[in-house]
Symmetry: C2
Subunit: 241 residues, 2 copies
């Protein structure tokens, strides 16, 4: 019997990948993933078998992965960022649970942390990550979480803020935040973190919707103490500098 | 003039470090950090100058780092996990802001994500990270955040749950959570993640305090949907498997 590695490859290029993630791909017979991620890694493993699975077909992707493993292969199932954060780890473990096939989850640098490093250190204190995708989660629960995280003065990172089919969620999130966070709260908008085309803007809650937010964007909203110094967005821990 | 890298080395051993973190240390003239972290990396860079700075002297550590850079050195200031998550990134940026010295933050795999991978995939959905250290943050604000995160059915990861001098905070956090989360909510207690002596227990909110929680522990409390299957702790995203 084979084995499955579920691997977070980090935000994209090899340099943000861990040695463990790289080695697991190297040791695998086949690398499985959505084509975007296969494209990011295939140059590193020339000659290695790959399998590009379809977008939004997550269960099928896990079943394909499991089938490769049942046929004796060591399989690397890859996600960007950390596979355990809105990624493939949970569903792969669930699909493989009764198969007798070993599944090892290999963590990676998640988008909120990688994006934070691009703009400075905005995620230094208590922090909530919220996905704005309501495909699988009730929108009422998501808005409740936005409200409570804002009320608690958490730093908030938004995953999946917008897609072609979902344009209004970020606007509604913004309206909720404005009720609890000051309008001059700092916001970082980071696009294509760790990939070609990486760029960012530092703005305020009031003005954040004036900036481009798309599928490849992470939005990080500071807490009430977050400031900008030397061009960097910093949330203090409380040291007296 | 020199340059400063603030580096998250991941949970400890080389395999969970990124290529970028490794290369930045390799390219540096000196590695600065608390002795625990220097001990973790010095075997990788035999002959490299190191500087062990004292525990709890974070501002001094940044000033020492800045002084090395002012003397023309490229300096690697290292933290475990991600330096931008309760680490050295924010304070280093603040201390160096007016110096003209460039500071680059290099992200790493943070403890919540690395610990999650050890037990399965508990952090697959909306997630709050809270530090229980009240040295620099009012305890009232911390308890407010615990309450709100619990009310919002967030997965919650606790950093700094306990130390020699702080024993009661985790008990109070537990009492607050029990008011909003069911007592059979699943909890992972992970010690020494990614290091020698890594071990974990899966338990419930009701029973979590029966397990050893110390300075090297991450506590991950699931949401209302978190389950155990095949020995793994999994928070579902909502796919129908």
């Amino acid at each position: 019997m084979g084995k499955i590695y579920v691997i977070g490859i980090g935000p994209g290029n090899k340099e943000n990948m861990t040695f463990r993630a790289y080695k697991a791909m190297e040791d695998s017979d086949i690398i499985v993933g959505h084509k975007t991620y296969i494209n990011l890694v295939e140059d590193l493993f020339v000659g290695k078998e790959t399998f590009r699975s379809a977008m939004k077909k997550e269960i099928e992707r896990c079943q394909e992965t499991l089938n490769f493993a049942k046929n004796g292969k060591t399989v690397a199932l890859i996600s960007s960022g950390d596979a355990g954060v809105y990624g493939m780890a949970g569903i792969m473990l669930e699909v493989a649970a009764d198969s007798g096939i070993e599944v090892e989850v290999i963590p990676g640098v998640t988008s909120a942390n990688a994006s934070a490093a691009v703009v400075g250190a905005p995620v230094m204190h208590d922090h909530a990550t919220i996905s704005l995708s309501d495909l699988l989660t009730d929108w009422d629960l998501i808005t409740k979480r936005i409200k409570l995280a804002s009320e608690g003065d958490f730093i908030i990172s938004y995953y999946n803020p917008k897609s072609f089919g979902r344009q209004t969620q970020i606007v509604e999130a913004w309206e909720i935040m404005l009720k609890y966070k000051k309008k001059d709260t700092l916001v970082a908008i980071v696009r294509n973190t760790g990939r070609e085309g990486q760029e960012y803007e530092l703005t305020t809650l009031e003005n954040m919707l004036e900036h481009e937010i798309n599928m490849f964007t992470t939005v990080i909203v500071g807490n009430s103490k977050t400031f900008i110094k030397g061009g960097k967005m910093i949330t203090p821990r409380g040291y007296k500098v």
